[in-house]
Structure formats: structure tokens, C-alpha cells
């Protein structure tokens, strides 16, 4: 009897130690951490699909594409070694993210990391990367604090919320000055009062701080600014609080389900704002449009990609077609950024010609990717190596898109900022509910 218990107990505990891995010499493993379940699962899948498409292009010759990584099969400087992504689901949990990062580094022997979407998870994963001296490229976490820690093994391709929020207020000022296509100049007071509500983790609270800080000098700071739990099952009290001042402008930062819930709540409360802006994330996920349909018409979101970019960038249209063939969807801000970060990994590996961490670190600090190579409308990729924003891509730029009904009746994201890239007249004011 005792022996039986003993064997059973040992069997349970021995199951912990079953992960052993072998390193294949002809492939380069990159560990990827995304939220594939939970409230941001839709964005996680977008990110995964974008990264996988980039790997498919890097590992195979696709002469029809106008980008360097499509000309070779694998990493040329490493003898044509193929890239393999090892993707893990962190469920939006910072602790699990850190544990999985250790697994990827120590058990799966990845040469580097990518992820993790949620800034709070990215923070813990970056701490693990720093502890073990393994390079990490971040594609979509936009909390400015991430590149202000002086981390030596962390690089971020996407612009951060400091840039995006700055874009927001430049856009609002331009809107009043008649710079936005289809909108005549008007008094700034028409945009007041402004209210904001951000989810209250690392990312949302940083957006909240950025909105207050950047909005103040131009007299566009929020009259009410709330932080709410992204997992909250109900946002009625937050909605009522925001609407108590009859806001003209409403600014949000929400991850996934909460962004949808917020708009549903505003609709149920018959909100009549003139302008609604979301800080990407939940406001740009495919679920946002599929769940809300025409209720999204007129809502603005900051983004880094819209299929409309393909009209001015040939390579964007080419990659978007491949993505659409593969997934049935257009590239989104999430998938385009994951694609771009994976592309950055390819360039870094190509430049390093090695998988040693120090060589990769040096290559990441020196890499320069031209704008022509990218599907996103940035000026390129070049990471800072000094100053307070260490590891940040200084050539990234943001866009603001507005959901409008297309000719086929489907909601599409039209570009309204930068003003010179505008693809449609802006709807202003929106009709509300």
C-alpha cells in the first residue's frame, strides 16, 4: 500500500522533469510569447499569424516580393539556416510569461525572444531576457517605460505611446485647424470637454499618464480620466461617470473584450460624443469590428497599418495579399507589427552571421532597415544605443485610422492621419447613439 502511494507520488513529481530538447544545427529557434487565450486572444492570433508569415517568407525564396529577406532561403550568412518559431501562450499573465521565457531560453535553447503584446508581460519577460543575456525584440508593447529601464537586451520596433499620444494631440490640433481631409476649421472649444478611460495595467496607466501630460500644454487635457480593470464584466458606472460631463471627445485605451464592452456600454447609455479615439489594441482587433459592426463607424484608432497603406506602398499590398490568402483576413496593426519584428530578427541574424548572444546584441544595435523593406509606413528601423530611450526604434511613426463603411458595406479603416496620407474624408462629428 505504502509502496503504491510512493510510486504514485514520485510519478506525479517526476512528470515535472520531462522536458529535454535537442538543438538542431540547421535551424534557428526564436521563442515567441503571445496571449493566445484570454481577453486578448484575438490579437494574439493576429500576432502569431503575422510572425509565421514573415518566417515563411524568410525561409523560402519568393522573388515576387520586393524585400531582401524574400530573396534568400533561410539566413544566408548562417548557411541558409531556417528560422523556427517556438510559440507559447502566456494568457496575459506576467508570471506565466516569465516562466515560459525561462523555458524557451533554458529548455528550448532559443537564440532570442519576441513578444509579448501586453506591456505588463513584456516587462517580466524582458527582465528574464536581461537576467540570462538573451536578445528580445518587442513588436507591439507600447508602454514608454519599457525602453526607459536601460535594458541591454531589449529592442522595440513599434513606436511607443509617447509617440502615438503625441500624434493624437497633433491630430486634434490639426483637426481644429482644418488640416484633416473633409473637415473645415472650427473652434477648439468644440472638442471640449475631453474624457479618457484606460485599462489599469502597465500599458493603460502609461497611456493615461501620457494623455494627461501631452494634452495639458495644448489645453486639451481630459476633464475626467479613469482607470478601469480590463477584466471587468461591467463598465456601466465608468460609462456614466464619463458621460456625466457630456463629453465631446472620448479617449480610450482598452485591450480586447473591454474595448468592445466600453463601446456597447456607451451605446446603451446613448452617448453623443463628437469624436471617439482608441489607443489601438482592442480598438483595432478584428473582433472589435465583427462584434460591434456599424457601431464602429466613425471611431478613430491609432494604428501602424491599414490595408490602405498598400495603395502607397507596393510591398505592403504584396504581403497583405499573401496574408489574406493564408488567413482570409487583411493585415492588422498587430499582424503587421509582428511581421515587421520578425523581419527585424531576420536582418539582425543576417548581419550577425552568428547565433551567439553578444554577436546578436551588437548586430541589433547596428542594424538599419530601410523604409522600402517594410510593410508598415515607417521611415525604417534603427534602434537607439544611447540616451533615455535605449533600444527604441527611432524611425517608427504612427497613423490614425477611422472606421468607415466601404463600398461593399463592410467597415474598413481609412487613414486620416498623417494628413498627407489620408485616404478618405473624415467623419466629424460622429453620429453617436
Amino acid at each position: 500500500m505504502a509502496r503504491g502511494y510512493l510510486m504514485a507520488a514520485l510519478a506525479v513529481f517526476a512528470a515535472f522533469s520531462l522536458c529535454t530538447n535537442a538543438i538542431a544545427v540547421d535551424e534557428i529557434k526564436i521563442g515567441v510569447l503571445y496571449p493566445l487565450t484570454g481577453g486578448a486572444a484575438a490579437e494574439g492570433k493576429e500576432l502569431r499569424d503575422g510572425a509565421e508569415l514573415a518566417v515563411e517568407i524568410a525561409n523560402n525564396v519568393k522573388t515576387e516580393l520586393d524585400m531582401a529577406m524574400a530573396k534568400n532561403s533561410g539566413i544566408k550568412s548562417l548557411g541558409g539556416a531556417k528560422i523556427k518559431l517556438i510559440i507559447q501562450d502566456h494568457q496575459g499573465n506576467p508570471q506565466l510569461g516569465a516562466d515560459l521565457a525561462k523555458k524557451l531560453i533554458q529548455d528550448d535553447k532559443v537564440v532570442g525572444l519576441m513578444g509579448a503584446y501586453h506591456s505588463a508581460v513584456t516587462k517580466t519577460v524582458a527582465a528574464v531576457a536581461e537576467r540570462y543575456g538573451v536578445p528580445m525584440i518587442n513588436e507591439s508593447s507600447t508602454s514608454p517605460a519599457l525602453t526607459k529601464e536601460g535594458l541591454k537586451w531589449f529592442w522595440r520596433t513599434t513606436p511607443h505611446d509617447g509617440t502615438f499620444t503625441n500624434d493624437l494631440f497633433l491630430f486634434l490640433q490639426g483637426l481644429t485647424q482644418g488640416k484633416v481631409r473633409g473637415v473645415k476649421p472650427f473652434d477648439k472649444k468644440e472638442l471640449l470637454p475631453i474624457v479618457s478611460a484606460c485599462e489599469k495595467t502597465e500599458w493603460g496607466s502609461n497611456v493615461d499618464a501620457a494623455i494627461k501630460e501631452i494634452g495639458k500644454p495644448s489645453g486639451l487635457e481630459p476633464q475626467i480620466s479613469l482607470l478601469y480593470a480590463a477584466k471587468a464584466p461591467d463598465l456601466s458606472s465608468e460609462g456614466q461617470s464619463l458621460l456625466s460631463v457630456k463629453p465631446a471627445t472620448m479617449l480610450f485605451a482598452g485591450y480586447g473584450a473591454d474595448a468592445i464592452l466600453m463601446i456597447k456600454t456607451l451605446k446603451s447609455l446613448k452617448a453623443k460624443p463628437k469624436l471617439i479615439w482608441g489607443q489601438n489594441a482592442g480598438f483595432e482587433s478584428p473582433e472589435f469590428v465583427s462584434a460591434l459592426g456599424e457601431d464602429t463607424e466613425g471611431i478613430l484608432t491609432r494604428t501602424v497599418f491599414s490595408p490602405r497603406v498598400g495603395e502607397v506602398k507596393k510591398v505592403s499590398a504584396q504581403v497583405n495579399n499573401l496574408y489574406k490568402t493564408k488567413t482570409g483576413r487583411d493585415l492588422s496593426g498587430a499582424s503587421a507589427r509582428a511581421f515587421t519584428a520578425t523581419q527585424a530578427w531576420v536582418h539582425i541574424l543576417e548581419k550577425a552571421g552568428s547565433t551567439k548572444p553578444q554577436d546578436l546584441q551588437k548586430a541589433a544595435n547596428e542594424v538599419k532597415i530601410d523604409a522600402d523593406e517594410l510593410i508598415v509606413p515607417w521611415q525604417g528601423i534603427k534602434f537607439t544605443t544611447t540616451g533615455p530611450d535605449l533600444g527604441q526604434n527611432v524611425l517608427g511613426t504612427g497613423m490614425i485610422g477611422q472606421y468607415q463603411k466601404g463600398k461593399d458595406g463592410k467597415m474598413i479603416l481609412e487613414i486620416v492621419y498623417p494628413f498627407e496620407l489620408a485616404t478618405a474624408d473624415m467623419i466629424f462629428p460622429i453620429k453617436g447613439w
Binding site: 501562450d89 516562466d99 537576467r131
Partner: protein, 334 residues
């Protein structure tokens, strides 16, 4: 001295239990020397953390029968005390640990006094409410980083035993293993102590306990404080182990529920219950997620399996795994 003897006295357990316990203890000691993956090590550390959380919960929730769903607030107090003291005043972990535990115990007395005027579901709801209120306070308190939380800076020299900063996880493993054994020994004393007996009496029939002269209100408050000390200690450890803390991570309702769930699943009111619950749920949660979580077409399967097992155990034996063991033993002895 008598208390110490009592703490190491496991003689009332069947021999089979003790054999398994010794085997598990030996396994835990030698685990880092066995071939293992780093994910297995991380899972073992989490298992030990949740075991100690569960032991704490067991004092009031198991022996006392008061379903506490607000333990995360004490994890937060412990974690934040350590993080703030390290970041702002460069005070080592071993100094901040007792301070964090004391602050948590102090807070538990403050809220415990009114809370234990409530019973049953009302008490459980009140513990959730206090935990969420404290989380909201932490989220808007800029001195401790607000909702953005705190990041403990890496020290130049590692390993650093004073500040509990290590590159290799096995150091953390042995620290939390020490907490685990101290907790287990303490709980063994607790269950046989006067307060432990009083709590069980209160759990069975509070009116009768009071008629016997037991101050049930005060007994519950004391047990609640004990539970709090356990949880706050692990919270302090969590801050050093994870380097980053934020209210959403260390003070969420999810964490409170998970702590209670593990103890209840293993068997509330038994010495081994929280350990069994953590030994099943922590690896299951981690490994199912790692195996299925990222594979296209299998996304969410891990959560389905995880929740099905929990529901099956809850439906089959509400007293948890230890209840199943007890039932089998009783049927064999009949």
C-alpha cells in the same frame, strides 16, 4: 519546548502518510540535482509558493471554516513592502520580510475585527470587497508606482542572498522550500494547538463553541492573522523572484480564488490538502498551457481540461482529493 515537540509530532497520521511525506520531502530536497527543465523548476517554485499560500488559507478557511476569498491583498502587502524597501531604501529582503508580515498582520487585525461579525457567504463577499478596495488604493498610490507597479532593479553582483537576487532559479527554490517546511511544521503545531482545536469546534458548531466559553470572534481574528503572515511572506518572496510587481498581478481576485481553490481542491482542513491541491493544479495549469496553449486548433483545450478536472473533483467529492483518500480508507476499514 512543548510547542516545539508538538510541531514535530506527526504520530497521529497513518504510517503510509508519513512514508509518502518523507519520500516527497526527499524528492523536494534533491529535485534541483535531478535532470530537469527550467520550466519544471519554475513550476516547482510555483507549486511551493501556492502550497504555502494554501497552508495559510487552510488555517482560517480549512480549520476555521471561514471561506476567505481576499488573500491576494496580503500577497500585495508583502510584495510591495519588500519592493518599496529595496527600491527606496536599499533594505535587504530579510529586513523587509518581517516588516511586510507585520504590516499584513496589522491590517488583518484592523479588517478582521469587523469582518468576523459576518458569517458564511457574507464573510466571503466582504473579504473579496476589502481585497479589491485595497487593490484600488494601491493602483492609485503613486508612491508605490500606482497601477504601473514597481520594478526591482537588478543588482550588480549575483547571487545576492541579502536581497534575494539570483541568476539561477535553484537558489529561489531552496529559499521557498525552507518557507514550505517552516510553514508545514508550524501548521502541524497549529492544528494540534488550543487555537486549532477551538477553530475546529467553531467550524462544527459555533453556538456550541461559544457555550463552552470559546471566544469565537477573537479565535477567528487570531487565525486570520496567522493565515495572513503566511501569505505575506510568500508575497515578499514573489517580489524578489519576479522582479516586477503590479496590483493586477499580485492583488487580483484571480489570485485570491486560485489560493482558495487549490486548498479546497486538495482538501480544506487537512494538513496535506493544500499541498496536494497545489501539486495537482500548478503543474496541470502550466504544462497543459505549454503543451496545448499555442498550437493552432488546440487553443483553449488546456483550459477545458483544467476546468473539467476541477468540476469533476468538486462534483465527485466536495471535500477534495483528501476527502477521496479518506473515503477509500473508510471503505477499506469497514
Amino acid at each position: 519546548m512543548e510547542a516545539l515537540r508538538q510541531a514535530f509530532d506527526f504520530s497521529d497520521f497513518p504510517r503510509t502518510d508519513l512514508c509518502v511525506a518523507v519520500a516527497v520531502a526527499v524528492f523536494l530536497f534533491v529535485f534541483p540535482a535531478l535532470p530537469h527543465s527550467s520550466f519544471a523548476m519554475a513550476t516547482m517554485i510555483q507549486f511551493l509558493m501556492f502550497s504555502v499560500y494554501g497552508m495559510g488559507w487552510n488555517t482560517i478557511g480549512g480549520y476555521g471554516g471561514q471561506v476567505d476569498l481576499g488573500k491576494a491583498q496580503y500577497v500585495g502587502i508583502g510584495a510591495y513592502t519588500t519592493a518599496v524597501m529595496q527600491i527606496r531604501w536599499d533594505l535587504p529582503f530579510w529586513v523587509s520580510l518581517p516588516i511586510g508580515m507585520s504590516l499584513a498582520v496589522g491590517w488583518s487585525f484592523i479588517i478582521g475585527y469587523p469582518l468576523f461579525r459576518l458569517r458564511g457567504h457574507y464573510f466571503a463577499i466582504a473579504t473579496i470587497a476589502t481585497s479589491l478596495i485595497l487593490k484600488d488604493v494601491f493602483e492609485s498610490w503613486s508612491f508605490i508606482g500606482g497601477a504601473r507597479g514597481l520594478k526591482i532593479p537588478l543588482r550588480a553582483e549575483m547571487p545576492d542572498f541579502w536581497f534575494l537576487q539570483f541568476r539561477e532559479d535553484y537558489y529561489y527554490y531552496y529559499v521557498i522550500l525552507a518557507f514550505f517546511f517552516v510553514g508545514l511544521i508550524y501548521l502541524n503545531w497549529f492544528r494540534q494547538s488550543r487555537i486549532g482545536m477551538q477553530l475546529r469546534c467553531i467550524k462544527d458548531n459555533e453556538e456550541m463553541a461559544r457555550s463552552l466559553g470559546i471566544d469565537s470572534h477573537w479565535a477567528k481574528i487570531k487565525a486570520y492573522a496567522v493565515a495572513t503572515a503566511f501569505v505575506a511572506a510568500v508575497g515578499s518572496f514573489h517580489a524578489c523572484y519576479n522582479f516586477n510587481i503590479e496590483p493586477e498581478d499580485v492583488m487580483s481576485l484571480d489570485l485570491s480564488v486560485l489560493i482558495a481553490l487549490m486548498a479546497m481542491l486538495g482538501g480544506a482542513g487537512s494538513l496535506w490538502g493544500p499541498i496536494i491541491g497545489a501539486a495537482i493544479l500548478v503543474p496541470m495549469k502550466n504544462y497543459l498551457g505549454a503543451w496545448f496553449g499555442a498550437k493552432a486548433g488546440l487553443i483553449g483545450l488546456d483550459l477545458i481540461i483544467y476546468s473539467t478536472i476541477i468540476m469533476a473533483i468538486a462534483a465527485f467529492e466536495p471535500r477534495g482529493i483528501w476527502g477521496i483518500v479518506t473515503r477509500i480508507r473508510q471503505s477499506r476499514s469497514d
